[in-house]
Amino acid sequence: MRTTRIAITRLASLAAATLLTGCLLFARPPKDLDYSRTRQSESGLYRATIRPQGDSIPTGTLHRWTLHLETAQGAPVTTATIAIDGGMPQHRHGLPTKPRVTRALGGGDHLVEGMKFNMGGWWVVKLHVDAAAGRDSVVFNLAL
């Protein structure tokens, strides 16, 4: 009797584990993600706003963004070195392209070229800013 009970318990545990493993494969992104197009940098030095060309972010095509960068006090950052990386945290891969800021547009706006997202899902884009106020990073979450 006891043996039967242990076997049944193990069977039920195995079934649960199997089902949960399958479920993880199409897990949703974390619920508390901030998808704002305006974000504070991680150490609070900057505030950045992304404006994708055409407003909605397409999948599968190269497109441009305008990045507006200002200090925490609201002063536009017109001169900055900005590196971009990112990827899909749940898929173990980075961005499919190597986007760059190609020129400053004035008034704290910067042109970002080479943006591309090759699949739907949760993407992260990280901007590494080096400007007069110091070095800091801004993280954007995108749901495509």
């Binding site: 009970r5 494969l25 599968g60």
Partner: protein, 425 residues
Amino acid sequence: MTRPAVWISAALLLCVALVSAAWAGCRPGAAPGWSADERALLRSLSLASLGPLPADPSNRHADDPRAAALGHRLFFDTRFSGDGTVSCATCHLPARDFQDDRALAQGMGTTNRRTMPIAGTARSPWMFWDGRSDSQWSQALGPLESPVEHGGNRARYAHLVAEAYRAEYEAVFGALASLDGVPRDAGPVEHEAWRRAWERLPERRREDVSRIYANIGKAIAAYERTIAHAPSRFDRWVEAELAGRPHTAGSAMTRDEVAGLRLFIGKGSCINCHNGPLFTDDHFHNTGVPAASPALPADSGRATGVRQAVAAEFACTSRYSDAGADDCAELRFAVTEGEELVRAYKTPSLRNVAERAPYMHAGQLATLEAVVDHYARAPRPPAGHSELVPTQLSADERRQLVAFLRTLSGPLAAPPGHLATPPRR
């Protein structure tokens, strides 16, 4: 009821509850029919969602029907080879979806890779399994001088154009440069005598010959650009399903095929890479595909391919391209280094996939069943890091996925005559 029977019943009920809970948890709101998100995904996969064919700024003749007619003839002409036996159509057979059913392509020798189909490639920013070319015309020129494919050289091909295609060529590309003093056989190829003959040519003559060679590629690309997919049973099913119309014999999918579709866009995660109306993200992924035969050299996939693409003689940014400075964005913003590129290969379109075994970049997997099994197991890659994670798929689910993939078979669409050998003149 005996006590063991009570325990067994309770355990069975628990299992049923777990199945229901897990299923509901994984697919919130899932009910018979399709959610709004699922409907959007179905629409995104339909051929009806394919936009207009994008321009190719690197080939100003891409949409010239005269260039396509010339390219059609060149594509089937076996004189464009070292021994007069190999044409583009030798490996890209029109009746076989422009591929050859072989694990490794056979031209004058044996290549290291599987022949890729042509339909729809005008929409892709990268050609070949490793994306070492960034246009159809640049792609067409690689095999022509490969010793194991066409095995010829560009001087031979330029002479052939001058002798057999002068009028058609000049109608599209303008006056053909003089080939006086250009030897019959010369080119920057492995063949030593041909390479030496090429190196002896003055720079300007070399450029004249290379320009004719580039135009051969542009004519072939203009032809290939006309070859597209026609709707499959899946496309007809999507159209009827989303419109709420009853399915007909031409649009019906079986219960297993629909279950396979649900797996494709859901639990199987296939749609991550096989997305859009052509079922490809046109990108490169390491999916742990096993190494091909030990007799073949080590293959690093995109890691090598992207370097070749950037340095390619006939790239979008080259002197032979018609593109403007801002037109070559895919090349300008390509990822050129990193572990992710190692043994990453291009996501192939899944249209007509059931008609073209064997699979993967060197035909390593013989059947669709073996492919689905590979993705479910997610084995370790021979090099680099695989993006796959193991997927729990039952035998029924695997069968259903394969059943769905078979609904993607359909005819090709092309102008009259383009799917056959051109008539002899």
